[in-house]
Symmetry: C2
Subunit: 216 residues, 2 copies
Amino acid sequence: MPRISDSTIRRLSHYYRVLEEVEAEGKRLISSRRLAEREGITSAQVRKDLSYFGSFGRRGLGYNVAHLREEIRAILGLDRRWRVGVVGAGNLGTALIAYRGFTRQGFDVVAAFDHDAHRIGQKLGDLIVRDVAELPQASAELKLDLGVIATPVRAAQEVADALVAAGVRGILNLAPRKLFVPDHVTLRMVDMTVEFESLSFALHQARPPRRRRAAG
Amino acid sequence: MPRISDSTIRRLSHYYRVLEEVEAEGKRLISSRRLAEREGITSAQVRKDLSYFGSFGRRGLGYNVAHLREEIRAILGLDRRWRVGVVGAGNLGTALIAYRGFTRQGFDVVAAFDHDAHRIGQKLGDLIVRDVAELPQASAELKLDLGVIATPVRAAQEVADALVAAGVRGILNLAPRKLFVPDHVTLRMVDMTVEFESLSFALHQARPPRRRRAAG
């Protein structure tokens, strides 16, 4: 299989959502055009994305909704459950733990950790906040697959190192700074500032950008 | 100017971060290779992205750091300040309001709104949480440019409609559901489930995907 770009994987998540919706509406077939249905995705892109993973659909007929959904589910690794530990039980961590949608897609938050003595021992939904010092032991006991970093920026790299040492293979970083992890660990980052910038770009477009040479 | 894809804009945000870092290190020039420096971006992609906006850099010399940073700043609309209202003063909204990084990049959260009588009137940092019913009036008074939706899913579309009616031109949606806004309003969404799925995909890749026909 060729290296699949991050953008392709994001689009697969998007197709998966659309397929869920369309299946709930009771439809059996879907066109690549309906699957695209988002600004910036073309039908040709949909066909190309799906072609990476084998041969789905028939020309002129479209894709079988249930089968394609199941295939994408398997491709994204959603046909099993993933055990998630959240480090940082402040507002952001608490918001994450409260959100039930992750469970629906196969992600079970099974542990919450914090550094702060005031938070350790507190209940967050069904979880009791643990001391982040217990991470290695808890990770082994609970068989954590994924870690979420919802700490302040200054703690983020240290927590990433601890998660890696504890054997976690995937990390979602919500702290707005670049982190370093070894090659065998996958790191994703949510940076809201990037989203804000994408909005300011769009709102700003009415004004033409300045064009001048920047070479010095 | 051609239509710029969302991915290009995200990469511009990334280049901007790298340029800030490199400038802080006191460097004057930067190669497209150093600007790429992230999984999935090539030097050729960097040159293509920057070519949309005019002619920067000199072959073999690289880009002037300060000038390129300033140009991207202007392209992204970061050479002015943007006034942001956050709707939903729960954990997620509170986490957003507490984060000072937005201010650094030009985004000032100037108002927080909620529906819940227990939250209205409470202090969040320098802000007093307002009743979401005051949104139209507050938006006009405060000249809101952008709105953030940090409410539960069920309230999200109603809040989006209210933000649009209040004249906001850009919306960042953190509630995990698809929202509809008129064409003149720009909508971005942060969906953490998509990030989780990108992690499960990566961790799952060791196993080859099943290949069978999904066409019915």
